[in-house]
């Protein structure tokens, strides 16, 4: 096989590093299945050790791929088939090394974190080993130099997501969410498999290195490339939870919080964007497919941000924000000019992984004692995250950092990556004709405008989440903690059952395994922007001061709008009897949920995910269910009728035969004698 560009001595080291990156977590997963279930230390040591070893291997790979990369690293050896040989090889280059490091960092963080977080989990062994397997599958996708190997990793991830989302299988909501995630992503995977088959048939090779060579791409017709790209995009839409297949992701919050961090930051959702970045040269030949991707990503970006604005649960806010942020990533791929390549998207992938894993793990740390992720005031008076500052200031600060990065506040990582995507969109919009992407000018404008608007909404929902979670309602008596925040048009506070008394357990410190993980993840969240401007990311980043200033202004406007909305909502609430007057506080002390300024119908529509669940039910679930019923009826009344008829005939024959069983021995003997005569005559006659 060919080495892309590298000195001969390095190639071997990089190849071994790439092999170790894939194999070590897989081995940890395998070993995790045989350790004694009782020894939690051994189980967590295996999980953490596997991720740590893979991280070291990935760092070696990253250090070695400075001058280029190497393709065709043999992993399982070639698999001969009837129609040709499939190499099943790996690839080590800048892109795979950077993403592998990111995956290993998040996996390590999740493993360390869940040592403390899952301490009460009776099935911790299967949890740790499935997380290792999930990591291994993602790393196969990242390192694969073969479309079929990539598909294997892709499908194993689907399985692992099913197992982990349904980890708390005692709860029916978790089981349903797991099945939903599996079925919805599988729907997209149909397109993904067909897309890979199309590429295989058209290019005649399953090797990604050979497929991406210009001379191979020139052989493909536009129709072939467009069809393959559109089919691959279908799979990516499923895995990365873009419109219209996004419904599984908010429901997947039923899984344990570390799993959400893993799925959202490093593995499943990011895999779709990574595959698009890897196959960008193929996509570049199909402007129609890129336009479709740009439209899907723009719609997902804005819709998911609006949905996040109306959620009442912190984890669901984060889930919708993932859809929105991954849409930025895919939009960056859709409109990236040839000169920039996948760099803006990869940058968004990395910074999103950093701040989203931090956010999820912070949410888990805050919910660790409260046992809920509801924000603000829960209508039934149940527990909520409100007032986290008083309980755990450090986690609150880190959550604030993560939300600020999500909102794109300048020095943090989210700002730089979002700027990279918007800069790429601007480059395509302003001078897209220069490098042959002229037909994408409108897509560039679309992504740029929607991206700016979404930045505003993102800042607004991040601020709202912060207002509903972090501030300590200091001006309230202790037993009314959290009572000031009203999330909906609930009855006045005086009529509500009084919130539970402060539980001393709530004020225990966060376990060190969790707090140190959070601190470690805060570093890339803050500094990723500085690291990524270096030569780490393949390709170039195009930053524009106009777009940057505009985006920052809009983000700050979003923060201000959320604050103003909170004040406005508070004023509206204080106008009601029994809310502020009863406690004798000034009206300005009453704070309301900022989203209350929106009309209730819009709010409900956004919170419910724009009715996509109902649409899926009408378009897919009901026809499938009725088809299944038809098949059942056909099976029961047509196919099964023949065996049943056999049974009926046998019963009739048995009833006829029973008539001869008289119990009269003489009769039997007579029949025997007659039979003997008949046989004798037949023997004589036939002779």
């Amino acid at each position: 096989m060919t080495a892309l560009a590298s000195t001969a001595s390095d190639v071997g080291d990089i190849a071994w590093a790439a092999r170790f990156v894939v194999v070590l977590p897989a081995l940890a997963a395998l070993a995790g299945a045989v350790v004694p279930r009782a020894s939690r230390t051994a189980i967590s040591a295996l999980g953490v050790g596997g991720a740590l070893a893979a991280l070291l291997a990935a760092l070696t790979e990253l250090a070695g791929t400075g001058g280029g990369g190497v393709g065709g690293v043999a992993l399982l050896g070639p698999a001969p088939t009837g129609a040709g040989t499939i190499e099943l090889s790996l690839r080590a280059d800048r892109l795979s090394a950077v993403v592998a490091v990111m995956v290993c960092v998040v996996a390590l963080a999740v493993q360390v974190y869940s040592v403390a977080y899952q301490c009460d989990d009776r099935r911790y062994r299967s949890f740790a080993s499935v997380v290792s397997l999930f990591t291994a599958a993602m790393l196969i996708v990242v390192q694969a130099d073969d479309l079929l190997l990539l598909l294997i990793g892709w499908e194993v991830m689907g399985l692992c997501s099913y197992l982990l989302i349904g980890h708390d299988s005692e709860r029916s909501a978790a089981r349903h969410a797991a099945v939903k995630a599996f079925l919805v992503t599988r729907t997209g995977d149909i397109g993904f498999v067909l897309g890979i088959v199309t590429l295989l048939a058209a290019a005649g090779t399953s090797s990604i290195s050979r497929l991406l060579r210009p001379e191979t791409l020139e052989q493909l017709s536009t129709a072939q490339v467009t069809a393959a790209s559109l089919l691959l995009i279908a799979g990516v839409v499923g895995k990365s939870a873009q419109l219209p297949l996004q419904t599984w992701l908010p429901d997947a919050m039923e899984g344990p919080t570390p799993v959400s961090a893993l799925i959202h930051a490093a593995t499943m959702v990011a895999a779709g964007g990574y595959v698009m970045a890897r196959l960008l040269p193929v996509l570049a030949e199909a402007p129609a497919a890129r336009a479709v991707l740009a439209v899907i990503a723009s719609a997902s970006m804005l819709a998911a941000a609006l949905a996040a604005l109306a959620q009442s649960d912190l984890k669901r806010v984060l889930a919708w924000s993932t859809i929105s942020q991954v849409a930025y990533l895919l939009a960056g791929i859709a409109v990236a000019p040839h000169s920039l390549g996948a760099a803006p998207a990869v940058m968004q992938l990395l910074s999103h992984a950093a701040f989203k894993s931090l956010l999820f793990l912070c949410a888990g740390a805050l919910a660790y004692r409260v046992h809920t992720t509801a924000m603000g005031r829960v209508p039934s008076g149940g527990p909520s995250l409100a007032g986290s500052w008083a309980r755990s200031p450090m986690v609150s600060v880190l959550l604030t950092l993560g939300l600020a990065a999500l909102a794109g506040i300048p020095p943090l990582s989210g700002f730089w990556s979002k700027e990279a995507v918007l800069g790429a969109a601007e480059a395509t919009a302003l001078d897209g004709g220069v490098d042959g992407a002229g037909s994408l000018v409108w897509a560039g404008w679309l992504v740029l405008l929607v991206g700016l608007v979404t930045g505003f909404v993102t800042a607004a929902y991040a601020t709202r989440a912060w207002l509903l979670v972090v501030p300590s309602p200091a001006d309230v008596p202790a037993e009314r903690s959290g009572g000031d925040l009203v999330t909906d048009d609930s009855p006045p506070a005086a009529l509500l059952p009084s919130p539970p008394r402060r539980d001393p357990l709530l004020h225990l410190p966060v376990p060190p395994a969790m707090s140190w993980t959070l601190l470690a993840l805060a570093v890339p969240t803050v500094l990723a922007g500085l690291l990524l401007i270096g030569p780490v990311v393949p390709g170039e980043i195009h930053l524009s001061s106009v777009t940057g200033a505009l985006a920052t202004t809009l983000a700050l406007a979003g923060v201000a709008a959320a604050g103003a909305a909170e004040h406005l909502a508070g004023q509206r609430l204080s106008g009601r009897p029994g809310v502020a007057g009863a406690a004798g506080r000034p009206a300005s002390a009453v704070r309301g949920d900022p989203v209350l300024v929106l009309p209730p119908r819009v709010r409900a529509w956004c919170a419910g995910g724009f009715g996509f669940d109902a649409l899926h039910r009408a378009l897919v679930v009901r026809p499938t269910a009725s088809l299944a019923r038809t098949v059942t009826v056909g099976d029961h009344d047509v196919v099964d009728a023949y065996p049943r008829a056999g049974a009926v005939v046998a019963r009739w024959l048995g009833a006829a035969l029973r008539l001869t069983q008289t119990g009269r021995t003489t009769g039997y003997l007579g029949a025997l004698a007659v039979g003997a005569v008949v046989v004798a005559l037949a023997g004589v006659g036939l002779r």
Partner: protein
């Protein structure tokens, strides 16, 4: 040597045996009828063995087999008859019909349950 006396004797034995099997109600007499049938067959085997001067004497060998099997069969059959007598007090085959299908049309499966 003429065959006909032996064949005639065999015919008489078969006739008597069949009469005993089909017409008698006493189980022991039915068994005796069966023995007559078997011995008619034995007589024919020996007769034709002699008539055809079979070098291997397969007719005689066969007869020995039949005698042996008949002895075993009689042992089992007399044991059954003895048990029948102990249970019922008689050995009348017309009344001993417990193993037949019930006359009333029920399946009989329920009875055994």
């Amino acid at each position: 040597m003429h065959l006909w006396p032996a064949l005639l004797l065999a015919c008489v034995l078969v006739a008597a045996g069949l009469y005993g099997v089909l017409a008698r109600r006493n189980a022991v007499l039915v068994l005796i009828g069966l023995e007559l049938l078997l011995n008619a067959a034995n007589l024919l085997l020996v007769t034709f063995d002699a008539a055809y001067a079979d070098r291997l004497h397969s007719g005689q060998v066969m007869t020995l087999f039949v005698v042996t099997v008949a002895a075993a069969e009689v042992g089992v059959a007399l044991a059954v008859v003895l048990l029948l007598f102990r249970r019922r007090g008689d050995v009348d085959l017309l009344t001993a019909r417990d193993l037949g299908e019930p006359r009333d049309g029920s399946t009989g499966v329920e009875v055994s349950r």
